[in-house]
């Protein structure tokens, strides 16, 4: 089977390489994409939306159907991970459990058949089986880093009209901060800050913001995702309405992507138990 796969790979790769010279050269002004489509965007993008970053305009305005369904695909990936991995049983099955007695700081080990403390117990806190000692350097570094990363991601989102960036990148950086918290502390700490329910709700709300903006345009009598009709609600003219609407849908994308990244990480790192992380 591996031989067959190798032969198929070499065959398909060879066909691609042989036909590679039909592709236009990089940056060729005569290529079809540069001849018809790009000049239209270059000439009209700023006039239509007042946003200097053409990539953001193409992503969230001219081709917003594409971006909306990308966000929907990200949500579907989160749902697929949830349905495949999440087990309904509470906590880790089998093996000893470790708890920290908070007033004294002692670590206790409860064997498989032992009686566990209550879930909402104030005196006992569950800790990971592969428990690593408290490391002040890693924890303090991450605690200092996380707020700056979050502000940076909001900057990437808000500055998407002017510089590279936008909803997807901001969402991934924002989600990465929660994942960093889970790695540097432990999974329970991270779940306390952002529970799985919150992550699921945020991802659905994010996609709903994007789709809802399009639906409002449709209800007001324009095409789906044609933002110009929203001008009276955004207190601006048609051009600025498109500019503002790009920001609105990017916020939706950011929420969806951030929540889905956190959600997938919770399920992957704990094998669906949401008990212990990495």
């Amino acid at each position: 089977m591996k031989k067959l796969a190798l032969i198929l790979c070499v065959f398909a790769g060879g066909i691609l390489l042989i036909n590679a010279h039909y592709l236009p050269m990089w940056g060729d002004p005569e290529s079809p994409a540069s001849a018809h489509l790009s000049p239209f965007f270059i000439e009209n993008a700023y006039a239509h939306t007042n946003a200097p970053n053409m990539v953001a305009v193409v992503l969230a305005d001219y081709r917003s159907y594409d971006t909306m369904f990308e966000a929907a695909v990200v949500l579907a990936a989160g749902l697929a991970c949830f349905f495949l991995l999440r087990s309904r049983g509470k906590g880790r099955k089998g093996g000893p459990h470790y708890y920290r007695h908070i007033p004294t700081g002692a670590t206790i080990r409860i064997d498989e058949k032992g009686k566990l403390p209550r879930e909402d117990s104030k005196a006992f806190r569950p800790i990971d089986a592969l428990w690593t000692p408290y490391d002040p350097i890693i924890r303090t570094t991450c605690r200092c880093l996380i707020p700056f990363l979050q502000i940076y991601s909001l900057y990437v989102l808000a500055h998407g009209h002017y510089s590279p960036g936008g909803g997807f990148q901001a969402g991934v950086v924002l989600g990465a901060t929660i994942i960093l918290l889970a790695i540097s502390h432990n999974l329970k700490t991270s779940i306390q800050r952002m529970s799985e329910r919150t992550a699921a709700l945020w991802s659905i709300i994010g996609v709903a913001i994007f789709a809802g903006t399009g639906l409002i345009c449709l209800l007001l009598g324009m095409d789906y995702l044609n933002y110009e009709i929203l001008a009276p609600f955004l207190l601006s003219d048609a051009v600025m309405a498109r500019s503002h609407s790009i920001l609105i849908v990017e916020i939706g994308v950011t929420m969806a992507v951030m929540a889905v990244m956190v959600w997938i990480y919770y399920n992957l790192s704990s094998a669906g138990q949401q008990d212990e992380g990495l």
């Binding site: 591996k2 997807f168 990465a176 990244m261 992957l268 790192s269 992380g277």
Partner: protein
């Protein structure tokens, strides 16, 4: 004269072969991360900064974490 993109492209091919041949899955995840970062560098050289940014965050950042988490929950060494 050897330009930057040729050097980066050579490194990408080495990374791709390395990720396929190495037996330790954790090492494979790290090499895939390096591969993503080099792709990001190549896109930045070509002027597609938006795509490079996405590749850096998604490809080299979050997907590496997902790979590492998966390796921790499954098996460290590949069977084939």
């Amino acid at each position: 004269m050897i330009t930057l993109d040729i050097i980066v492209f050579t490194l990408i091919i080495f990374c791709a072969i390395g990720a396929l041949t190495v037996k330790d899955l954790m090492a494979a995840a790290i090499v895939t991360s390096a591969y993503s970062f080099l792709i990001c560098l190549l896109l930045a050289v070509m002027g597609a900064v938006d795509v490079a940014f996405t590749e850096a965050t998604v490809g080299a950042g979050v997907s590496t974490v997902f790979f590492v988490a998966t390796v921790f929950q499954t098996t460290r060494r590949t069977k084939d």
